[in-house]
Symmetry: C3
Subunit: 344 residues, 3 copies
């Protein structure tokens, strides 16, 4: 991609106009210290200015012109976002997709768009539909009545159960399981009788489901992942959860069944949210936090059971020094004994 084209894509301009720079060919994006000729870098943190002075990149993305840099600068509103978008485009270009559908098993009543790519060893069951530009990697299983929109990517070993519905531009990372039965049983007293999960999963546009995630099928109705959510590896979403749009969930976290989550939830790693809660928009749960009550307000929460962030920090300050507190209490007991003895 030539720098001229990059200027267009990023609504950017050169810090120093130079016709020759426009024709420079960019192959990849790389950080300042690793970039070589033919690569584009980015300056998003003033702490890295030194690296910008010595980078071997062919050009760098900046938010505003930096004086006395040798490297050509492309000024754009959000260089970090521009970097992400350009890297996606540059990164995607060189994959060689399979030319035809050998070793696939597509039900005659499934509809796979002619512009979709289906790798070998993919199984697609009756009545499912795959939209244009979607790529289904090897060893994916797509059950009956599944809808997958346009420009989705299902990496290898993904399982999508019956009747799940996905929008457009969705990424499902390797080994994820979409629509496994939720964990619900009727107790006879001693034994647990399985409650079949007849509901479905809906994943809206632009979501990314992490590697080895499990998104459980609803008992009835649906489990819904709203638009723009990004889930890291080994995340679990329970049955009938409604996850608000643009939520970010880090690795090894989980949300238990029937919890309704407002938009822009952020869960740090190894955190958990209990079942049947209602979470307002813009909640941030710290790593290893365990939220077991519905918070009444937005904001930070931490600890397990989780407390509001400020309260948790005050609590932790005491908790870390519990032996000192216990010592003070012992000292007080002694002092009081001594005082009483004096007064006796």
């Amino acid at each position: 991609m030539q720098i001229g084209e990059i200027l267009q894509k990023t609504a950017g301009k050169l810090a120093v106009t130079d016709e020759a720079v426009l024709a420079l060919e960019i192959m990849r994006v790389a950080p300042l210290d690793l970039a070589v000729s033919g690569e584009l870098s980015f300056l998003t943190n003033p702490a890295h200015l030194d690296k910008a002075r010595t980078t071997a990149a062919s050009a760098i993305l900046v938010a505003e012109a930096v004086p006395e840099l040798n490297v050509p600068q492309i000024i754009t509103a959000n260089p970090y976002v521009a970097m992400a978008e350009l890297a996606t485009q540059l990164n995607a270009s060189d994959r060689e997709y399979p030319a035809h559908r050998q070793l696939t098993h597509i039900h005659p009543q499934a509809e796979v768009d002619a512009q979709a790519i289906v790798y070998p060893y993919v199984f697609i069951d009756k009545g499912s539909r795959i939209g244009a530009g979607s790529v289904i990697y090897p060893h994916c299983f797509i059950g009956a009545g599944v809808t997958i929109g346009e420009n989705c990517t299902l990496y290898p070993n993904v399982t999508v159960f019956d009747n799940c519905e996905m929008g457009n531009r969705i990424v499902i990372n390797a080994g994820a399981v979409i629509g496994n039965d939720g964990f619900g049983f009727a107790q006879t007293g001693m034994e647990a009788v399985k409650i079949p999960h007849c509901g479905r999963i809906v994943i809206e546009d632009n979501c990314e489901i992490g590697a080895l995630n499990t998104i459980a099928r609803a008992t009835f109705a649906e489990t819904r992942i709203r638009a723009g959510c990004k889930l890291d590896a080994q995340v679990h979403i329970g049955h009938n959860v409604d996850l608000g749009q643009f939520s970010l969930i880090a690795a090894q976290s989980g949300i238990a069944g029937s919890t309704k989550v407002g938009r822009n939830l952020i869960m740090a790693a190894q955190a958990g949210i209990a079942n049947s809660l209602t979470i307002p928009a813009h909640v941030v749960l710290g790593s290893r936090g365990g939220l077991n009550k519905s918070p009444s307000v937005s904001g930070q929460y931490a600890g397990a059971p989780a407390l509001p962030g400020a309260e948790w920090r005050r609590q932790q300050a005491v908790y870390k020094n519990l032996p000192a507190l216990a010592k003070k209490v012992r000292a007080l007991e002694q002092e009081l004994r001594d005082l009483k003895n004096q007064l006796r």
Copy 2:
């Protein structure tokens, strides 16, 4: 399924005798507020009585007759269990299984019952046996010498290693790994030498193993999951664990190696039990609890390290308010100083 047949299956009777109702056709089970005509619903919680008054269901399951309801009522001993069983039967009916074993790889010395269903891309190794009525979904790997009983379901991408033995009516959810090597190494001082795990896994009748579970192979002897256990997604069971019958383990929990668990264990989500413990029957471990000692008695445990439930609740009451406790101690110190000054 006609309501007449439902009465037989649930040992139920109509609240109001009506011949016409017996012939009504039921397609699915659904909750009161979502049910439409042709669906059966259930009233198991008095709080939902309002919904029962307005439901569009064709009939509802109840434990005892409710006055002044328009909808036909089927009285049965345990409506919730009846619902679960009926939903399973109604849900199962419409899947179209592959007619023949194309694209499968079955070792000539494996024995697959003629009444078993083997999907494309299934690999079954030497000496393994699959019983009648069992269904093996695509991309399952079944190693050598494995025994799978009757009416089992292995969902896609399941791996079952050599010599594992499964009873009847077992469900293995997608992506589960049954019989991966346990985590055991002999230390030379600096390096860890792998101890091969030569044991096997036994899974008894009616168990359900969750999506993306790992059940580790025994070092020697066996890892055993006893009858009727239900494991949620992303559960890990260590090598040589013996899990008591009818145990329920929620998502993202784990039990470390060589622990012996009595019957009816309940683990809430993201909990852990340490290695080499002995757990009595009827232990309940709260979510995110970490049990690191063998409990001497049944009952509830919570926290990490876990305490008996009542003790944990008293502890948490103080823990949540640690800053208040610290403040009291500071106040006491001040008061005592003041008092001493007065007395000086």
Copy 3:
């Protein structure tokens, strides 16, 4: 394997010289109480001496001769390591590998050594290389430009993304995902724009990656698992992590992105290490521990947030008895009030 050969392999000698023993055939390794004739056992713990007296094993490995045992004893420097090595050799012998590459999909520009074994349903993309003696089980996906060395084993359903590089004698357990995209996004304010992960994974010699692990691809540069690391099931390693050699990580633990770990880390189960930390060599993190600051020294850490082991034990001693501490404070308050009243 005859005992004569075992003596050679373990640099061992018989406690009592006996020509007849040298020719005894050993089929397997087993613990003292389970071993039968034809099996080799081992005495590594004096507590098991009773079992050694009654074992039915054909011979046992010992560190030094034990008087008055009927069973032939093989004296070797480290019987536990010898057991592990012999068990590996005895265990490996009887598997029947597929004779030819049927149902595989190997890109014409991939190089698979003639001495490598590739099971059915394996997909190997352009430019990848598989070394001699390596075994790739069914349903593995190997992306483009991947290098896998000699004598590696990839168990079923493993996904290896583009450009990952593996050394020799590596085991990747079932369902592991090597090189999934790291969790990195550029924020536009409301929405998260994916940062493609252009880096690679390097796994050095003799590593074992657990079942259903996720090892995230670097943003740029690499994620590196150094030689001799052993990871248990359901472990997550974030993007750009550098994991020191001979590290051991137990099940359901995780290390967040960009953390640099020194050699011989030990993480017990369900533990976590935060992102962008620097961990010195020889750190041991207890089960469910959460390390959120770079420790300045080696040694034990426990708790979440983690403290040095000794500090944590002192803290826990108070924490477990918080209600008692609260009671003491209440008693002090009362005593002080009483004293003041007396003095009034």
